[in-house]
Symmetry: C2
């Protein structure tokens, strides 16, 4: 790899790009691709999307004048080439700088980044806003939204397209069509794009022209000169245009070109292990969920397993999806529709099980409220990854309790063990009374005995161990933390604390909590999520008019950004030791 950075060494800003010859631009794309492969293999991160967009990014920066002209990256998980070209190449060249820049656009890093973005389908709306702002301020710059075919199916993107189409001024939407969402792209839009690709952009019914856009098609989205040509054509246009480019996700790394889904995002050193036999991973919540669903579908063909574009998060690989057959639906990036559809399936008398990541359930508040809860539709929703983590600010999973648990009628459950989880899941799938959401825990714990709880009796907490003076309520996977605090209190203060597993996030077990008043001074809640609007505050309110003291543990209302867990545990006083310390101070 001796050529690496030969051309790139001349490129310290997007301006430098404009001095390069066509041949140098091609060499540059190869060098950038090498850097991306090497770096992402070291650090993990989005792989296929970045390899696919190298030439487009070069052409965009060659033609447009960033940051005066403004490029908005949808999801922005394809912004690595952009970062390389806008003064941040050392973060890709030098291993010691690998963690210097985030995996998403970040205005704090560069004037070439306009928004912190990590959820899909927002770029068109954000760009329409930049356009309107430019127009009322009298600016003349180009506004460009770069959006993938997968992101195009999200409601906000479609709402944005509808409004972008009638702007009487410059706005350029680049549709980066690689024929993939994270998994296969879904729906009429995917078919429409396929037809355009198959016909070199010329079809009977052009979707974009129907909406009012001028439309351009580039068949080879890796041909820099062709891209430059079309971008030059649309530059400074005074009406909204769509430039539809066909690119290859994973371009330049053969295994990723051939099997796109597993290379969308990779773990550190995943490329080094390609030839190793896949390690047999042990039992976890993904595997037991899959086993349950497969068996359930076999015995009851009315069960419909649903995802919204992220089957990989749940371990739903192609084999599993194929086994489910017609009992599996991936709606694509369309979380709102997924919840509405789940409600419809339930009302038809069938049994939907919709799997969503905590961060993405945020798109569905109104659907949870109106389509689902108001109709008491007996759908099951599984929320994955909910909890405090060192995640990127755009993908935090700390808000789902606050989001979901304050909506009437929804039963939101937090299992602490595998047995509870399976019992809750089975109860939920088979019942016809409530919309049920279950927060799938992280680490698998087994209670060793099966759970015989009747979950149709709502809001009954489990008294794990009755003690006195202090009651510890650990929600879901924080029940382990509560156990450890109990041990510390015993060791340090000789207190036999009461241990409660609440199971129900959405309700207060008034009978049990009232009972604690007799011989308890302090109730401590621990939840794996934001305190504001969360579970603990309901307990604090319940005891507000009594002498009971209440301590609530969880995360603060803030966007953390790759903040390491030890730091968060300290900040939020979430270790058993710190919690025991606080309790000691309070009762002394």
């Amino acid at each position: 790899m001796k050529t690496t950075a030969n051309v790139l060494s001349k490129v310290n800003s997007a301006d430098d790009l404009k001095k390069l010859s066509p041949e140098e631009l091609n060499l540059l794309s190869g060098e950038m691709r090498e850097l991306i492969i090497k770096k992402v293999n070291e650090t993990g991160g989005h792989f296929g999307p970045n390899l696919g967009i190298v030439e487009t990014t070069i052409a965009l920066h060659y033609v447009f004048n960033s940051p005066v002209d403004k490029i908005v990256f949808d999801v922005s998980h394809q912004c690595y080439p952009h970062k390389i070209l806008t003064g941040r190449k050392e973060g890709f060249i030098n291993p010691e700088d690998y963690s210097k820049y985030t995996g998403y656009t970040a205005p704090e890093e560069s004037e070439h980044d306009f928004f912190k973005v990590g959820h899909t389908s927002t770029s068109v709306s954000l760009a329409v806003g930049l356009t309107k702002g430019r127009d009322v301020l009298g600016g003349k710059e180009n506004i460009i939204a770069l959006i993938g075919d997968g992101s195009l199916t999200g409601g906000e993107a479609l709402e944005g397209l509808n409004n972008a189409a009638v702007l009487n001024s410059n706005m350029i939407i680049v549709v980066n069509d690689n024929d993939m969402s994270i998994a296969e792209n879904q729906g009429g839009i995917a078919n429409m794009l396929t037809e355009l690709r198959n016909n070199n952009g010329k079809v009977k019914n052009n979707f974009f022209e129907a909406l009012g856009f001028e439309y351009f098609y580039v068949n080879d989205g890796h041909d820099i000169q062709k891209l430059i040509e079309v971008f030059n054509k649309v530059k400074d246009t005074q009406h909204p245009v769509v430039v539809h480019i066909f690119t290859q996700k994973g371009k330049g790394f053969k295994p990723a070109e051939e099997d796109k889904e597993p290379f969308h995002w990779i773990l550190p050193h995943e490329l080094d292990r390609l030839n190793e036999a896949p390690t047999q991973s042990g039992e976890d919540y993904n595997s037991i969920t899959k086993d349950y669903l497969l068996n359930k579908v076999k015995e009851d063909s009315s069960v419909v397993v649903m995802t919204a574009a992220t089957p990989g998060v749940f371990g739903f690989n192609k084999e599993f999806r194929n086994k489910l057959g017609a009992n599996y639906v991936d709606v694509g990036i369309a979380e709102q529709h997924a919840v509405g559809m789940a409600s419809g399936i339930a009302k038809a008398g069938a049994k939907p099980v919709l799997c969503l990541m905590s961060s993405f359930v945020q798109r569905t508040y109104d659907q949870l409220s109106q389509d689902l809860a108001l109709n008491n539709s007996p759908a099951t929703i599984l929320i994955y990854w909910g909890g405090i983590s060192g995640a990127d600010a755009t993908h935090l999973c700390t808000f789902d309790i606050s989001l979901i648990s304050n909506i009437p009628n929804i039963v939101y459950l937090a299992p602490a063990t595998k047995e509870e989880y399976l019992k809750m899941l089975d109860w939920s799938v088979n019942q016809k009374e409530h919309p049920v959401v279950i927060r799938v825990p992280g680490d698998l714990k087994s209670a060793g005995v099966s759970d015989e709880t009747d979950y149709s009796v709502l809001n009954k907490y489990q008294m794990v161990e009755k003690g006195s003076e202090v009651a510890l309520i650990g929600l879901g996977d924080f029940s382990e933390k509560a156990k450890k605090v109990k041990e510390l209190l015993k060791d340090k203060l000789n207190i036999s604390a009461t241990l409660i597993n609440p199971k129900f996030i959405t309700g207060v077990d008034e009978e049990m909590l009232s009972g604690l008043r007799a011989d308890h001074k302090v109730v401590v809640t621990m939840e794996d999520g934001e305190l504001d609007g969360g579970f603990g505050e309901k307990i604090a309110r319940f005891y507000g008019s009594s002498d009971m003291k209440v301590l609530n543990y969880g995360s603060f209302k803030e966007f953390t950004d790759k903040t390491p867990m030890p730091e968060l545990n300290k900040r939020y006083r979430l270790t058993p030791e710190l919690i025991a310390e606080d309790i000691e101070k309070l009762i002394k």
Copy 2:
């Protein structure tokens, strides 16, 4: 009106309809229209949408076999003809039964209603769910979604269309195109529909065909026989179809045909007052907001006033909109896009002011979080109608505090008086630090003196009157309630309670609240919204580890449905007398 109910008297169910001659069907439509005009004039309600859909509803029930075949009404504010034909006509004939049925589809009323619906753009997703449920259960019935052109611009509807297009089974989407949203319809979709109408359904680029639907056009959506013909054609089809029908909103009532917007929804007896001179309404929050915005736009052309299809809610009539000119944007039913766009406008350096109803801000959680809050975009959002009311279950406005106030970075303000409101609004529009949401109060109260607060100092509550023993914190328009409780405590118990106006919903004034510990036993919060996840719980949590007792007042986590306010005030103990009673019990 002697003909009234001549034909209708023979129609007690949808089945009876099938026995009528074409002439009788036409007479029936006239009779139904008369009933709707008379009833809605008495009770108030949705007017134009129902007059426009009479013939379509007759034709649907003539051709299809409800409730085996299932019709899902989008928003369902056009379901009056459907109710008349499905066993509920007495609710339109007999004045004493006028309030017997809700203004929306309601499964508890009839087996012909499948969902409780009041928010737009959900019908396609719900119907896709019914379709999938039917298919896995082996059913054969027709599934029909009836959706208006206005609703079609909402993200969930577009996500739904994308997925409906690839169903390999029966699904019929009837697009009721009356060339109107609540106000004018907006965007590329509206233009696309106009072109279809202008060309009798034949255009170069057919949007629906591009997505994969079979497409039918009916130029006269009031010609029952033509509608019957097309519905017969698509009945039992085994692939997704779109039937695009052109109807006239307000059909049969001339003033509503000529000026559609004011007749979308009318107040009781509004039709009787058509020839009266418009009453000069006094100053209210609508009028002072409009005055402020007009003046602001005059002095600063970077201010952009935004709505999402409901300008009438804010009193933004055509005259006002025209005055704002290019500084006004109605994005149509596209709340997610509106928030994203507002963030973009703010990032461009201009000043967006987005007006939304509390109930509809529910569609924007993720946009508030990701597009706006994470980016700290200094946009201003005004939330109207937030508060406990006797509204329909589908339009409750009690959840916005819980929804918005637990998102990091957003400053959510609750003014108690006109002066505070205007000061907050002006501060928000001019500042560049925070996304700011302001909860526009209901009744206008004047403090009599201008507000000089510097709102850039966050989370500083106002100590209105320092007392002792009991502190009363009334949020926003509940500050009046707090004042009354204070008077009662003085009269009944000779307690000089402390009165606090918190102003900031999103933060706790720890300094002020800590200071209360010295000479207060009880802190009472009052908020006009849901307790769960709300403002009061944050105060309860703050005092959790102290001896301070806390009482929280607000509404329960429940969907109420046209429940009268006196009943709710009793249920939630929200009158000053009940609150004072509780306080007395607690401190005695």
